[in-house]
Amino acid sequence: MTRRVLLRKRRRAISATLLCAALATGCDYNDIDHLYIATGIGVDREEHSVRLSMDLIQPGGAGNPATGENSNSQGNAPDWIVSADAPTFEEAMSGLQAKLSHSLYLQHNALVLFSEDALRDFSPIADALERDRQLRRSQLWVVTPTSAESVLRESTGQSEPISLVIRDLVDEASRREACLASDELHVVKALLRPSGVAPLAAIEEGPDGSPEVKGLAYLRRDGKLDIVDRARLLDNAWWLGRTLDVREAVPWTEGGHQGVMGVHWLRTSTRLVVDTSGRSPKVRVVWRGTGEIERWQASEKMSAHTFAALEHAIREDVKHRLAEALDHARAVDMDAFGLTNACAEKGIQLREGAWKRLQVEYDIEPHIVHGQLASTTPFAQEARGGGGSS
């Protein structure tokens, strides 16, 4: 093969490659200046329509690092909210785009905030969110009992877009209670399992106008929602898996006085074991926790007897909390803790509602490390019993 032929072939190959490259990607050009970057979507349901509120980054609002101007000196917010109504989710998205002078960029969307009403007719919205190829599967799905638009619009004093604030808020909370990590992939996966219930983080607008974690919400595949407030969050979090670095006040009786002791759980884990040896399946809740007692004042020196009593009190408290959470789930008819799933994994298909009649027993082993037991402060006497002795 002569050199000229070789060169000609090579030139053709290069031309073909460049042409393919141009056809493959050339149309996706989108300079960063020509994008409206969405960081969050609020979904509200009105009478016969879906109302979408999009949280968009306002580049000027974040200040210009070159000139040293920041958002506060400019008086601009780092983001702005655009809303649109339409009968369907897709039409509402088109309506939003129609209001914007640049294309909407959804690939950095970090949050979908549903109002309680929006979840009533949940399936079409979930379907639309799942189908949109721009949206990441890692975006958080979060519920608010009020209006999503008002949470996004009325939150004030934030130095970064409100959606990112909410995402960080939930991320931080989920570091302690793993069940709050309600990203789309996990939620959809949970909804598709036999129990058909997924836990979602619930947030609301706090008294100072900034968002805060309200608790945990259970979403059933049919759109039924149950919100568990923060007071009962730990009980549910224990059912749903790991917790790290959480604190709990445990009732404690000493010498006829009723008080509380502070327990710092370094880590806890819970798993469900289905026992099929009997006539009917039995679920054993295996709870393990390692913690330390942070606040406790004994009138006497610590002895094995006192310590055993402390551990017994803790065990009873954990059992009580788990049982209470289960009772609540049974009451609202929501298999929030996946009892049906656990049975299905063992090959036992339960009929609808049969999970409520399953026999549940608790295997609780708190492991208290002694590190903090000996520590007292000059205020220990006043703080005895948590200050609430009766």
Binding site: T25, T39, I57, R136
Partner: protein, 495 residues
């Protein structure tokens, strides 16, 4: 008596006038008659190229000796002499800094080498500075440069061959090699390529490089350029060939590989454990200097989803109000940076530094404040410049400077896909390059496991007993192995 063609005239005056005729107008040509009891003649030389004092001494000695001995031949003074039989040869000798001594009635003249060619003294290396190790660098005199190599490599096997290149202005080119180490095919190929050079004059060895390079169109350097004698000696001991030209302070060495361009002489003078992170850094910096602006452009124009959201928010804030598309902004900044770098190089050192400082600080800051460029782009282009400054080989720096432009264009047209495609094409091109028959990416591709000791890492000297196999040296072992010699037992302290 007139001079016939190029033959030496019988009368010395005619010889002098013919030389003057060929060189005229030539105000610095000097002609001085001399005479002894028996002979007369003229001396012809160029003022400035010849040491006048030595010439006068030599002429006096000539007159005295001629008178005393009374013989017909011109006596030889205590300097290097050469017989010249033609006018052309005499003219060349005069131009070469010799004094031509012509005698009446003789058929040839003598060229006395009394040259006093202006040359600077040996100085520190400016282009390849190091903290440790030898500091001296070549100068513009071939004889001095050869002496500097000989001073370091006291081996009888060091051979030096000279060639003359240049039709109008002949230039002496020396090739150096270690006999018994260098592959004979390589040596033959070097000789062949130098002999084929057709050029009117050679100003610098870098002109020779373009004639002997393997690929005609390649931005990558396939010859190593150095001004350090220690580096040349190291190359010769590896089985490579060095080339020097008279009047050039630079030495070329062949063959060279890509990895060699990323090693610095200092790697061999510092502890081997320190050389590893520095070499890794240089490898990273090379690709950084080529790809950094392109990746930035691709991420901002096509692949924004790859940026973390807070970074995207920050970049979007920086970019708001910039009137140019990112790719134009990047190209503009890169051109501006290159212009500043060029200005800093061309201007006198003191002024050049001021230009660099003013350019980078004042103009850059003003451009950002004026909203012409974003701070992120300034950082990226500056980081690219800094990355290229870490590369020890000037040829590779220039390659990186050139390559970043097509990569930015590819990123602006096709995003990361374009960068990837061009990157693959570039790697393919690099893999196809040869330097005097040695694959450019050796010892990585093709792989020479044993030679990997001196690519990314620099193994301790006691582990590098062999010469690089990629150069196919005749003697692979640096030191001949003695089968009978056993390793001495490790010394132990016994109280």
């Amino acid at each position: 008596m007139s001079v016939q063609k190029d033959d030496m005239a019988r009368r010395a005056v005619d010889v002098a006038s013919e030389i003057a005729k060929r060189l005229e107008p030539c105000p610095d040509l000097r002609v001085q008659p001399w005479s002894t009891q028996r002979d007369t003649g003229v001396a012809v030389w160029l003022e400035g190229l010849v040491d006048a004092d030595k010439l006068q001494e030599a002429l006096l000695a000539l007159c005295d000796a001629g008178s005393a001995r009374g013989r017909r031949e011109i006596p030889r003074p205590g300097v290097a002499t050469e017989e010249v039989g033609t006018i052309s040869a005499a003219v060349r000798a005069v131009l070469d800094g010799c004094a031509v001594i012509a005698r009446d009635g003789a058929s040839s003249a003598q060229a006395w080498r009394l040259d006093r060619v202006p040359a600077r003294s040996v100085d520190r290396s400016e282009n390849e500075p190091t903290l440790h190790g030898p500091q001296e660098a070549f100068i513009e005199s071939l004889s001095v440069n050869l002496a500097m190599v000989r001073k370091r490599l006291k081996s009888p096997r060091l051979k030096i061959e000279t060639f003359t290149v240049g039709e109008t202005s002949p230039c002496e080119i020396a090739i150096l090699y270690e006999e018994g180490v260098v592959k004979s095919d390589l040596l033959r190929e070097v000789r062949r390529r130098i002999a084929q050079i057709r050029v009117d004059y050679v100003a610098d060895i870098n002109e020779v490089r373009e004639f002997i390079n393997d690929p005609r169109f390649s931005v990558f350097p396939t010859t190593e350029e150095t001004e350090r004698p220690d580096r040349v000696v190291a190359g010769l001991m590896e089985g490579r060939v060095a080339m020097m030209a008279d009047g050039s302070p630079t030495c070329l060495m062949v063959p060279v590989t890509f990895a060699m361009n990323l090693s610095s002489p200092e790697d061999y003078y510092m502890h081997y454990s320190l050389a590893l992170p520095l070499r890794l850094l240089r490898h990273l910096m090379f690709w950084g200097s080529v790809l950094l602006p392109a990746l930035y452009v691709a991420l901002l124009t096509y692949n924004q989803d790859l940026l973390p959201t807070p970074l995207l928010v920050s970049v979007a804030a920086q970019h708001s109000g910039i009137p140019f598309p990112t790719v134009i902004e990047a190209l503009g900044m890169m051109v501006a940076f290159e212009a500043l770098r060029e200005a800093g190089t061309r201007l006198p050192r003191a002024v050049g530094q001021s230009v660099s400082i003013v350019g980078t600080l004042v103009i850059g800051d003003a451009a950002v404040r004026a909203g012409l460029v974003s701070p992120g782009m300034v950082i990226i282009v500056s980081a690219t410049g800094v990355a290229s400054f870490t590369l020890p080989a000037l040829g590779l720096v220039q390659a990186a400077r050139l390559l970043q432009f097509p990569f930015v264009l590819a990123a602006g047209l096709f995003g990361l896909y374009g960068v990837l495609m061009l990157g693959i094409a570039l790697l393919g091109r690099m893999a196809s390059l040869r330097s005097f028959g040695v694959p450019y990416l050796a010892p990585i591709a093709p792989t020479f496991i044993r030679d990997m000791k001196d690519v990314i890492i620099r193994a301790p000297w006691w582990m590098m007993q062999g010469r690089p196999r990629q150069f196919e040296p005749v003697e692979h072992d640096r030191v001949p192995k003695h089968p009978a010699r056993k390793r001495a037992p490790r010394w132990r302290w016994r109280p």
